[in-house]
Symmetry: C2
Subunit: 393 residues, 2 copies
C-alpha cells in the first residue's frame, strides 16, 4: 500500500472552559492507503498540531510532519515504525511533532488491523486481551460536599475504583486537601480503590507535596498521581522515599526516553502513558514492556473519546498483571459521541477491548459534523489547511 | 508596567531547502509594555509557534500561550520567571509551548534591560561579560574536498576554532566519515580547535557511533556533538565510557529538567543550550550555573541571527572558564541582516557582548519587510492571527 491521504478533523464543544477537562475538543486523524481507511486521535492542542502537519519547511530537520508520511509504502508493523522514525528525524526541531505523530501512528495501526482483519492488540503479538478494571476518572468537586456526591454516584454505578483530580486540590491549604480526600473516600466506601491526581500542581516542590501525604495515607489512597511535572524526576524520587502511598506519573512523556527515565529514576509505582502523546501505539507498547520488566505497573492515560481509549488500551492489553485502567466518565458530548461503539463495563464491571479489526471503533460522522471546527491556514496566498469534508455515513 | 502587546513576525528565505541550515527562516517576537519594546526570537517552526500563541483553548492546562502573557504586570526579573511559570502551567499539555515561550521570555529580558538601561548579563548578576572564543559553525561540504576548502576559508578568516556538522556525515561509511574529518583537520591546520557535529544521525545506536571514534581521535577533535537525540542519555553515557573524545549535546532540551538530566547522566564534556528553545534566558542561566557546579562546560547553541546569538550568550557571559561559543558564519541573508548591529570577532578573534541596554541589538526593519511571510489563521470565521505591520524605522 501507499499512503494516499492524511486528514485532520478538529472538533470542539461550542464553549470550552478553563476546567481541567481534556474532553472539550479532539483532533481526529484519518489516513487512507490501498483502499483502506484508519482513524486515530491526537491528545493535543488541535490547531497547533494541524499547523505542524502542514507548516512550511524550516530546514532539513524541521519539516512539516506530512512530508514524511504521504506517499510512504506501508504494509507491515515494521513500516509503521520506519515511518515514525522518519517523521522524528525530519521534524526533529519541531517540538509539537510527537503529539502530531501520535494520532497518525494510531491511524496506521487501525488501518493495518482493518486490512489484516485483526485487532491491534493481536498485531502487537498478544494472544489475548485481558479484561481491565476501570477506574472512574473525574475532576474533584469545587467543595468536599460536591466530591462526596460524585464519589457516591460512582459507587452507585458499581465502579470498584475511582480517581479524583485537578479542581481545587493542591491550590489551597493542607486541611482543605484533606477534606477533599476524605470526602472522596467516604463517598466511595471503605472497599473502593481510591486514586488522587494532583495534576502537577506543585511543579517540583517536594515539601509542599509531602505535607499532603498523611491525609492520603489515612484515606488509603492507592496512588498519588502527578504531584510534579513529568520531567521532575529528582522531585518524584525524593517524595517517593518518604511516602507510603505509591506515586503515579508519566502522562507528559512525549517519547520513550522520557518514560524510561521516569520508570528508572522517579520511584514510580505506576507509569501512565497517553498513546495520543508519546508517539502512538508502538512507543506505548515499548514502554509497557519496559515497565513490566522493571516491576512498574503500566496504566493508560485517557481523558477523551472511546477511540482514544481503545488506542491507549492496546499497548498493555496482553499484560495480565497490569489490570487497572483509566476510564473517563464525565466526557463532554463531543468526545462521548465520537464513536458508534462504546467501551462500557461488563457485568463484572470490567472493560474488554473488542475483538474487531484495528481499534474496533467506527466514527460517528454525525458527531463530527455537529462539532466540526472550520479552520483555515494561509501562507503567502496559499491555503495550507482547510477543514476537509466529513465522509458520508 | 503591564504587557500590552505580543506580536510575532515570521520571516523566511524565498526558497527553503532541506539542508541542515537553521538560518533559512526566523520567528521574531516583539513585546510592548510601559512605553518600552523588547525583541526576542524563537528557534522554532514559525507557523507552529504562531498557532500555539493564538490557538483556541483546549482546557485549563492547554491554553494559548498569549493568554498567560497579555495584561501581566512586569517590573522585575522575578516577574519574568513568574510569567514563564504561568505559561508553563496553563499551556502544560501544549507541546510547542517551550519553543514559543522562549522568544517571549527573551523579549521580556530585552525590554527590562532597556527600561533599566542595563545589559541583560548585568541584570543576571554578572559584573562583567567575558570575551568568548567563537567557533565558526558550518555544515560539512558534500565532499571532503568541499570540506577542506571550507576549513581553509575559516582559517583564512583567523578563526581559532571551527565546527563541521550535518551534511553527509554519519550517513555513509566509516571511511567516508574519516575522510571528511581529516579534510576538516587538514584545512583548519594542526593548531585549530576542531569540533564535529553528527546532528543526531545515529539516534541511539552506540556501536555505529563508536565506529567513528578512532578517526575523531586521530584528527584530535575536541568534541563529538550530538551522536544521539537529546533524550538518549544511556546511549550518550555508553559512548562516553569508551571515548577519549569528549561529547557535546543538549540543544534539543526544552526545559531545565532535561538539561540537568543530560548533565548528570550523559557523560557530557559540554552542554549546549539554545535560549530560543529551552524557555529563554532565565532557564538557560539556571542550566549554566548547574553545569558550572557539575564541571561541565556550558556552550550556546545558535544557528540563526545575531539577536538570537546575543540572547544565547547572555546566560554564561560572566562564567570565565566557559570560553568557547558557537558562531554561525554561513547564515542566510534573512538571519544575517536581521539586526542593525553585528557581533563580529575583535582584533584578538574574540566575541564581546555589547555593553548596551537589553540584548543591545536593534532590528533591521527593512530586512523584516523584505522577508516577511504573509500568514493568516482563521477559526470559525474569526481571524486568530494575521501578519502584523512592521514598525517604521
Amino acid at each position: 500500500m501507499q499512503i494516499e491521504a492524511v486528514d485532520f478533523f478538529y472538533v470542539k464543544m461550542p464553549d470550552v472552559t478553563t476546567e481541567g477537562d481534556g474532553s472539550q475538543d479532539a483532533l481526529l486523524v484519518r489516513v487512507a492507503a490501498g483502499g483502506h481507511v484508519g482513524w486515530g486521535e491526537c491528545e493535543a492542542a488541535p490547531l497547533v498540531s494541524i499547523a505542524s502537519l502542514v507548516c512550511p519547511r524550516s530546514h532539513g530537520a524541521c519539516q512539516p510532519v506530512i512530508a514524511s508520511v504521504l506517499g510512504q509504502t506501508f504494509d507491515t508493523a515494521a513500516d509503521i515504525a520506519r515511518i515514525a522514525r522518519l517523521v522524528k528525524r525530519n521534524s526533529l526541531d519541531l517540538l509539537q511533532t510527537d503529539h502530531t505523530l501520535s494520532g497518525i501512528e494510531i491511524a496506521l495501526w487501525d488501518l493495518l488491523g482493518k486490512r489484516r482483519q485483526e485487532p491491534v492488540w493481536r498485531l502487537l503479538g498478544f494472544d489475548r486481551a485481558y479484561a481491565k478494571k476501570p477506574y472512574a476518572s473525574v475532576l474533584f468537586g469545587d467543595t468536599p460536599e460536591e466530591t462526596l456526591e460524585k464519589a457516591r454516584g460512582i459507587r452507585a454505578r458499581n465502579f470498584q475504583a475511582a480517581k479524583f483530580g485537578w479542581g481545587p486540590y493542591g491550590t489551597g491549604s493542607v486541611d482543605a486537601d484533606r477534606d477533599q480526600v476524605h470526602a472522596a473516600r467516604e463517598g466511595l466506601g471503605p472497599d473502593g480503590i481510591l486514586l488522587i491526581d494532583a495534576g502537577t500542581v506543585w511543579e517540583d516542590d517536594v515539601p509542599t507535596a509531602a505535607a499532603r501525604l498523611p491525609a492520603l495515607a489515612e484515606a488509603r489512597a492507592a496512588w498519588l498521581e502527578e504531584p510534579f511535572v513529568s520531567g521532575a524526576i529528582e522531585a518524584y524520587a525524593a517524595l517517593a522515599r518518604q511516602s507510603t502511598v505509591r506515586l503515579a506519573g508519566g502522562e507528559g512523556c512525549h517519547d520513550v526516553h522520557m518514560a524510561r527515565h521516569m520508570i528508572d529514576g522517579a520511584g514510580l509505582g505506576f507509569v501512565q502513558i497517553d498513546t495520543g502523546r508519546i508517539g502512538g501505539i508502538g512507543p506505548a507498547f515499548e514502554v509497557a514492556r519496559y515497565a513490566a520488566a522493571k516491576g512498574v505497573t503500566f496504566v493508560n492515560h485517557t481523558f477523551t473519546s472511546n477511540l482514544a481509549l481503545s488506542a491507549s488500551l492496546q499497548p498493555f492489553a496482553g499484560l495480565a498483571g497490569h489490570e487497572i485502567c483509566e476510564y473517563p466518565i464525565e466526557t463532554k458530548p463531543v468526545a462521548r459521541d465520537l464513536t458508534v461503539e462504546r467501551l462500557v463495563p461488563d457485568a463484572d464491571g470490567m472493560i474488554r477491548l473488542p475483538d474487531r479489526p484495528g481499534l474496533g471503533m467506527a466514527i460517528d460522522f454525525e458527531t463530527v459534523r455537529r462539532y466540526l471546527v472550520d479552520a483555515r491556514i494561509e501562507v503567502d496566498g496559499a491555503t495550507l489547511y482547510e477543514t476537509p469534508p466529513v465522509p458520508a455515513d
